[in-house]
Symmetry: C2
Subunit: 308 residues, 2 copies
């Protein structure tokens, strides 16, 4: 995990050997400095770029992996539906081997919405067998009388489910990052603030899977959230959006309203060194070009920050 | 030409109206501030991104234009072979209309290799009728005894052809940017220095079409060249390469050895406000993904520079 290239400039220049998973699979881009060199301002972006599972919910696993190889991206959220949490150890090993063939690694599962201790335990047990250090989650309770409906307000935050989560992070010693989903489900962790208020006195292994787009769609500044909750952010969902409000839709990285350089600066300043997973929620049937452009853009911002 | 978006962050935020050519063709990305806002450090990248003609030498014009629309890019070097310099005014108008349908503009022709006054005049006459402010060129003489061979050393720099060029930039009041092509043709403007030495006492309308990749392939630092010759650089060829020497081959923007953030910083510092045309000399039959990734990368570097 420490061997990923973070941008390109420092990885090419501060080359110190080392190789990514997949051995000699990468003629280019396969070797990188474990710690990027800092720019003259001393800033270092330490997080790694990957792709969130939902981006590929309509794309068959091997096709998604081939695309990732083509765009030189090496971290993928567990591909939706491509393996079950009750998979055998042999199935997990086989899945990992398939990822490795394309130079891809999966370090976490989720975000997993769950409403029962059994569901949550299945996730943690799977993560433990896989060797994951954290999972991302959305624990919820069903609002009374709305069990059969899926829509705003039918799911809500629940201290009881957080109790379950706290016991699981302790039992398995695996972190859990709760995902903020913006104004669409206002009763269920719409913002980093909503998560922060619930977890501040909880075990520190419970943190935030910070979705910058949904934070902005809720009318809040992602930069402020990163600076306030940085030490509890364990994963980032990286995207851009068309408008800074609830009407905001997904758009290619360079074309939206989010101030990506400022957000990345904040992530560097708080020392975030986990995965920033690109969640590109646009053209699910044909998203290769948009992903290439977006990944390129994020790498460009990172390289510039590390150099300047 | 002043209306292009330079990156995205400032164009979205410092929106002051204005619209690109093509009218309402752009649901997104079509409006931008004519002058990007500066970052806290006061740096402004003023140049505009486009695509050099050679990138598409194997791609039919309409297909190239559709790709440019898909990746939100609005400047294209004159597409190789798609219009002749003796085209009628009506043919030029028709060609421009086709570009405009995709929100694309062509502001210059070249680089045009020529060895006769007649060839050069045809280029300038065409540029004048089109309304171009500059052309890019490689004026040459044939080395004695090598007329029938195309290879290193068969063409050479020529004061006589520069005399012709000087008379044409004066007659037409159109600038000419001489292209450096690196170590492959060492006798014909391999570097910015080679051009600088020949043009320093020439009419200032003769300048440089600065190819950063070829400069590095010649073993020289592109940053130093930009800082030294900045006031004579009228176009930039933007690329990345696999190695910092003559063996360097084209590679996607984020993956090469060039220090793109430092080069863009230098271009901003010298006030370059022309076109930086992406010359992506890789996979000519299938370069859409690489172009998307590269354009995204360059936009990311620009946005970060303007914000920080």
């Amino acid at each position: 995990m420490q061997k990923e290239q973070v941008g390109n400039v420092m990885s090419r220049r501060a080359f110190v050997g080392g190789s990514l998973i997949g051995g000699g699979a990468f003629a280019l881009g396969g070797c990188a400095s474990p710690v990027p060199s800092a720019g003259p301002c001393g800033r270092r972006v330490r997080f790694k770029l990957g792709i969130a599972r939902y981006t590929f919910w309509k794309v068959e696993l091997e096709k998604a992996l081939a695309l990732m190889k083509e765009i030189d991206c090496h971290y993928l959220g567990l591909k939706e539906g491509s393996i079950k949490y009750d998979a055998s150890d042999a199935e997990i090993a086989s899945y990992k081997a398939k990822l490795a063939k394309y130079g891809v690694e999966t370090l976490s599962a989720g975000p997993e919405y769950y409403k029962s201790a059994e569901q949550a335990r299945a996730l943690f047990a799977f993560a433990k067998r896989w060797g994951m250090k954290y999972v991302s989650v959305v624990p919820y309770a069903v609002c009374p009388g709305r069990e059969d409906k899926w829509g705003p307000g039918n799911r809500e935050e629940s201290e009881a489910m957080l109790d379950v989560l706290e016991s699981l992070v302790r039992e398995y010693d695996i972190k859990a990052a709760i995902h903020n989903h913006g104004p669409d489900i206002p009763t269920l962790y719409p913002t980093a603030e909503a998560i922060g208020a619930r977890i501040q006195n909880r075990d520190r292994r419970i943190g935030i899977c910070f979705d910058m787009g949904h934070q902005q769609r809720a009318g809040l500044d992602p930069v402020a959230a990163v600076r306030k909750y940085g030490d509890r952010i364990y994963e980032v969902h990286l995207k851009n959006i068309t408008r800074p409000d609830s009407e905001g839709k997904a758009i290619q990285g360079p074309r939206g309203v989010l101030d990506i350089p400022a957000i990345f600066t904040a992530l560097a300043d708080v020392g975030f060194d986990g995965l920033a997973l690109i969640e590109y929620e646009r053209d699910y049937d044909n998203n290769a070009m948009g992903l290439a452009e977006s990944l390129g853009y994020y790498r460009g911002v990172i390289d510039a920050l590390n150099r300047l």
